[in-house]
Subunit: 342 residues, 2 copies
DNA sequence: ATTAGCACTCCTTCGAGTTGAGTGCTAACA
DNA sequence: TGTTAGCACTCAACTCGAAGGAGTGCTAAT
């Protein structure tokens, strides 16, 4: 059986109504709510069909209907109408340029959480594709060197390197020149691929000491494989009883604190991005089991060449998809503008 | 009326029992639980006295007694017996030296939360008293300088400084020498006190440009006024219904996510540290209103000269104070050892 | 001073009864 | 043939009262 126009209208009405109220929707409500001018009895027949087809279901025999995961999926795929969101605060916040990436991300998460009333998370952009701009080794004291590496996007990495023997000014200078000529302009991804080993060979002479230092620089560059994740509005989940009943809240709060699990979700979202940059996971579709009663909407953002990160919104399945997606689109373009302005 | 020996014993028994079970304690239980060999009727008389004196209270007329805040306070102040805690994991974790302070702190928080089954937080040590060891300005490109500042304890701060006009190699070198000779060995606290202004005067010649740079370096040093706070085991609060009823969980989770509020608690704890390094806040005694049904135990730790931070444990009023304080003492000394080993 | 005994309180649990929203089905209607 | 009115039925949610039981306070005896 196919969904005819009328069934679609009814399904849409059921979902819309349920998103608003969170209560099972009865036939009488639909009969009045829509412009179909049908009696509740007719609606009941149609709803029975919709149930049979798997789009809606009844919590119990004498209750109204609520959307099934399949119903939500259909809604998100074919019936949604993005709401344009304008929020002034964000504009203002982003206009006063944040020098620290961290501060910026935290603020974005906060604004998103406040605007949507759901829980928000944001991952720092991964830097794998970013090029090394500047490397400098300095002597802190006879036993320690300080390595400073600046990467495109003005991200700075530091590493203190303990050294066994003292190093001469001359050698330090040589090493600086070597590192800069060899590594500048390469991406971290490329550097990971064995360039370090090649460099060590090339340095030859002072074997072990130089080797140590080069290794340490390599480590500093490679660090940050799993990017930082910031969250905000975790307590928004308490607005939705279906997420808080029966100890579910505990699991969710735990998931939000253990950034590691969120990382897998963000990874998944980056990998399967179909090009629109926005993805919706309904219930079990998300790879995190504690979110089986949630929907997750993720958006990939880009802060210039290769610096991709993900924003995620976690809420109940009956979240306001239209609004959430609108919000995320707005944020995406705002972050885009931000980079261009630099 | 004074607390005689017998009343103390009974009070202790009531509290101990309540800590274990979380249920109001009746006279019959006490009569069997203690070695006083008194009938329940006698206990009842004593308990009536204790209630009048404010140490215990009844949830309702025909229920047993539970400790009041005053009762807990008395227990903590005079009757507690610290339990020695040995946890192997921590030892192992700390033995493999963490190079990153952040990683270390996160792990400590996690271990504490897992061991106590309460929520844990830890603040990064404040660096106000730490001396500047090394300052370096480098030219990233014609419009940007990079300032790197290393502070005692091997904490590194960076700042990218945009400059209006190019700066000559010569001037950059002069500036480096100036900054190092003037600021090295001073604490950040001292630097805040107007040394920056004096420096600007002294530089004189190139007025505005140099001024800009010096200001930026000063900013970098002054940043981090409110130190980072890490939390773990927030979801442990769900183990205790008295913290989860009536939407209290939402508030608490919010507080734990908004690190800012926790900061005030940590501040308070640092300021009023009586010397033992450990403090207990029962109910309203903590300066955070969402914690009015909680007890908070804080411990000041020291990672060497002047680098003081705070660990906090948040749980229900009926927390196992003995165990918690034992745990914190152990952590304190472990962190202390750690520093000495460096 | 201590204790046994007893009446009393009040939370908790359970089941029965009531209510009301909503359904499915049938029969009538356009 | 699609739509609708009507009606019996279902079931969660709520209310109410009775029973149970833990624990108290008081009194009188030891």
């Amino acid at each position: 059986m196919e969904l005819d126009e009328r069934k679609k209208k009814i399904l849409k009405a059921v979902i819309r109504n349920y998103l608003e109220t969170g209560e099972p929707v009865g036939s009488r409500t639909i009969s009045k709510y829509t412009d179909l001018n049908l009696s509740s009895a007719t609606i009941r027949n149609e709803m029975a069909d919709l149930e049979e087809m798997g789009y809606i279901l009844q919590p119990h025999t004498s209750a109204g209907r609520i959307p099934s995961d399949q119903g939500y999926r259909f809604y998100v795929d074919t019936m949604m109408e993005e709401k344009d969101r304008e929020f002034v605060e964000l504009k203002e916040m982003l206009l006063e340029r944040q020098d620290k990436m961290e501060t910026l991300l935290k603020q974005v998460a906060k604004v998103v959480a406040q605007n949507t009333q759901y829980a928000a998370m944001i991952s720092a952009p991964s830097m794998h594709r970013n090029k090394v701009k500047f490397i400098q080794l300095s002597r802190l004291n006879p036993e320690q060197l300080l390595a400073v590496i600046v990467v495109e996007g003005n991200v700075i990495k530091n590493n203190i390197i303990p050294i066994a023997d003292e190093i001469s000014d001359e050698n330090l200078l040589k090493l600086n020149i070597l590192l800069n000529t060899q590594l500048n302009g390469l991406t971290m991804e490329e550097i990971n691929l064995g360039i370090i080993a090649a460099l060590k060979q090339q340095a030859g002479v002072h074997g072990s000491l130089i080797g140590e230092v080069i290794d340490a620089v390599g480590d500093a560059i490679k660090a940050d494989v799993d990017p930082e994740i910031y969250t905000s509005g975790t307590n928004n989940i308490f607005r939705y009883p279906e997420l808080t009943d029966n100890g579910k809240a505990s699991e969710l709060v735990g998931t939000f604190e253990e950034k590691q699990q969120l990382g897998s979700l963000i990874q998944e979202s980056l990998e399967t991005d179909p090009g629109t940059g926005i993805q919706v996971y309904i219930g079990d579709e998300a790879p995190i089991k504690s979110m089986k009663d949630c929907s997750v909407v993720t958006a990939t953002y880009e802060l210039g060449e290769g610096m991709k990160g993900t924003i995620g919104i976690v809420g109940p399945k009956r979240m306001d998809y239209d609004k959430v997606i609108g919000t995320l689109r707005t944020i995406q373009s705002k972050l885009d503008e931000l980079y261009k302005k630099e």
